[in-house]
């Protein structure tokens, strides 16, 4: 098996980026990564790309801007898996190098949500939704099914059910969700690339915001950001050839899919009922640790970047990823264990709750872990020594999870 390292990271300022178009935005991240690695565009052999194309209103946008990112004449592979897409792009980049097919691969993922807000020019997502509705009618599905689908309310809608289920499962309170959201915004204030930055944000500030749908407050919901991330993967030979000193090694990847969660309309009659169970995440983590040779994640892993657009997910996934026993993450939160300067920092970048440019979000988790390992996270660098970090992404109909384990040292076989 070939050893694979991250040799360069680049991202854009995330937020409402009306100053650039999709092509300009992605190339900003790509060229930042190339500069960070200190190599040339000619050294990149292949590209791994992905976003949720409907959100930006362009089908296969990477084809339009292949030239902007220096991909013309080179291999380019695209994946898309929902919220996990950035994590899936990282895994694609890893496998492209690990396979021995390429030595240096640039992975980039992005989203430009503000584009799909413009009617007329880019009505991609609407188009996608209507097409499926016409198909449902063709199959003879009735208006009741349509109404139930509408009530599901997309990602925030499903997540509200999940947040409620997790409350009962773990015994925590809504106040703990306020604490997680406040931590995310405080951490984001130290990250110059983040979207919602709120220095000294307190749980009480979040608690004052409107209850949208129980148990989710306005202050719990992630923004719809514009932004892009890029990461360069290289083989051990390439790391030596370029003489790059600061790298983060990939120890393992795993991405176990589950069936979609049943939103009142089961297509196959087998959907998952408890959205907070997340067996796919448990299995992904278990397999990733097994592949990385980790036996006790809480002791051997130093920090994690968890994909949590909604605060209950940070608590829930930190348990599913094996960092805390089931139903105890909120206790660790109360004790400050997961703060930037805590014993087990979780999402010191502010994470997806403060910045969510869908495609970018999953890849950013991997990128942030790499920065922490290379000691390049600047203001939000955690004080403790980071040797092993875990990057997580979540998506689909709450059914997909990607787990990536990174380290300061290559894996020993």
């Amino acid at each position: 098996m070939r050893r694979v390292a991250i040799i360069g990271c680049g991202q854009t300022k995330h937020g409402r980026r009306t100053d650039v178009n999709q092509a300009e935005m992605v190339s900003e991240a790509v060229w930042n990564a190339i500069d960070d690695a200190g190599i040339g565009i000619e050294d990149i052999e292949a590209f791994a790309v992905g976003n949720m194309q409907g959100f930006g209103g362009i089908a296969h946008p990477d084809l339009i801007f292949a030239e902007y990112i220096g991909a013309v004449g080179k291999p380019m592979q695209r994946v898309a898996t929902g919220g996990t897409v950035g994590g899936s792009v990282a895994h694609l980049g890893y496998y492209m190098v690990a396979s021995g097919m390429y030595d240096v691969v640039l992975a980039t993922a992005w989203e430009k949500h503000s584009d799909s807000a413009e009617p007329g020019a880019t009505t991609g997502l609407l188009h996608v939704a209507f097409a499926n509705l016409s198909y449902m009618f063709k199959l003879g599905m009735d208006l009741r099914s349509f109404a139930i689908m509408g009530l599901a309310g997309a990602a925030a809608g499903i997540s509200a059910y999940q947040a409620a289920q997790y409350l009962f499962r773990s015994g925590c309170k809504i106040e703990h969700y306020d604490m997680v959201a406040a931590k995310a915004r405080r951490n984001a204030a130290k990250n110059k690339y983040a979207h919602l930055r709120w220095p000294n944000c307190k749980p009480e500030d979040i608690a004052k915001t409107e209850m949208l749908i129980w148990p989710m407050r306005f202050g719990h919901v992630c923004p719809a950001s514009d932004g892009a991330s890029a990461v360069i993967f290289a083989s051990e030979d390439a790391v030596k050839k370029f003489g790059i000193k600061e790298v983060a090694w990939i120890l393992s990847v795993a991405a176990f899919a589950d069936e979609e969660n049943d939103q009142g309309e089961s297509y196959q009659g087998t959907g998952v009922l408890d959205y907070s169970e997340q067996i796919g995440c448990v299995l992904s983590a278990k397999k990733a640790y097994e592949r990385a040779g980790i036996e006790n994640p809480r002791k051997e892993v130093d920090m994690a970047e968890i994909y949590s657009p909604f605060p209950h997910q940070e608590l829930m996934f930190s348990e599913r990823l094996g960092f805390f026993d089931e139903g105890t993450a909120w206790k660790a939160l109360e004790e400050g264990v997961t703060e930037i300067d805590g014993d087990f920092p979780i999402t010191p970048s502010g994470g997806v709750n403060a910045t969510n440019a869908i495609g970018s979000s999953g890849l950013q988790r991997v990128l942030e872990c790499a920065l922490q390992i290379m000691n390049k996270a600047e203001e939000h660098q955690v004080p403790k020594d980071v040797r092993i970090a875990v990057a997580h992404a979540w998506g689909g109909q709450t059914q997909f999870n990607t787990v990536t384990v990174l380290s300061d040292k290559p894996k020993r076989w």
């Binding site: 084809l63 030239e67 013309v72 929902g82 895994h91 690990a98 020019a121 990847v253 176990f256």
Partner: protein
Amino acid sequence: MRVAIVGYSCLPMSRDIGLTREESVFLSTKMALESCNLTRSEIDTVVSASSDFYDGRTISNSMLIGALGAYLKDESKSEEDGLLAVIYAMQRILSGTHRIALVTAHTHSSIFNPHQISRYMLEPLFDRQNELLNDIVLSALQARTYMRKYDVSEEDMAYVAYKNLRNASKNSNSVLKVPDISVEEILASKVYAEPIRELMIAPTCDGVASVVLASEKVAYEITSDPIWIEGVGVSVGNYFRDRDLSKLESLQKAAKKAYAMAGISEPYQELDFAEITERFAHQELMIYEALGIAREGKGKNLLNNGTTWIDGEFPVNPSGGALSGDAICATGLYRLVEAIKQIRGEAENQISGVRRALVHSQWGLVAQKNVVLIVGGEV
């Protein structure tokens, strides 16, 4: 290490397959596993290929996990042609992490017209505002550029369709079955965008196809007749506005890579036949040239002197090619499945004594991205 194809399946392509996406993907997956006597538990990883825009729903793989047999398995989705999902699955095996992979690709064009989606592939602020542009119009521009430069006639284009549709009439997977069609009828079919006529356009349809891949180590435990992936090449070209439409440069590059990996220096001599994705008739001639089996501008000669016919020296598209049915994301896999059948001697329109084939697919407007696979049976 090498990767082998050990199983395959495809459903007959259809204008309206009469099954949901879940049902048809499940059928194809099940048939592929049965074709090599594997069970779901023996599959390590699943890579599907579908596209949110063509599927008409966001996260197009989310409802398909059960149908793919991918639940509680290491899974991902390529959002482009199925051949790229094959390459991703191959990379997963070559990394040493997985041994056996399942690849399934589908598109149900009956949901709505894929040509309409081509408008969403246009750059939105300038090109999409021009309501005249779509994939057919752009291909007409490509055809005209190519025809003017190399003195290619509409009859030459019709002749491509004629050859492929004759082959298609013997292929039970094809959508367009017109065994008695004549060149005159093709030239008299409806004009969509000068010089592109109805029978020169790949007919979009519903289709699902699957293949099972295995590492060299386990391939022989599964089958005595593995098909080896000997070479792989992928290349993306410039967006259509910024490139010379009279040639397929990205395909030249993809082919060069695949030949190098397979150790091929004389493709015409060393390959036995090819299954290619010609979304429009003229593209088949351009593809001959880009693959290096015809000299620049001389693609029509291979067609006119019978070389690429089923009984010729280098048959191309014994299945009938994309002009016999185009299930978008699955089209590359239909080409691959035909190549496997030909090499194993299981094809309906069988060429005798073939061992090594080139499989091609394309993605994007006017063939912007190209993929080439070299596959071969035992030496």
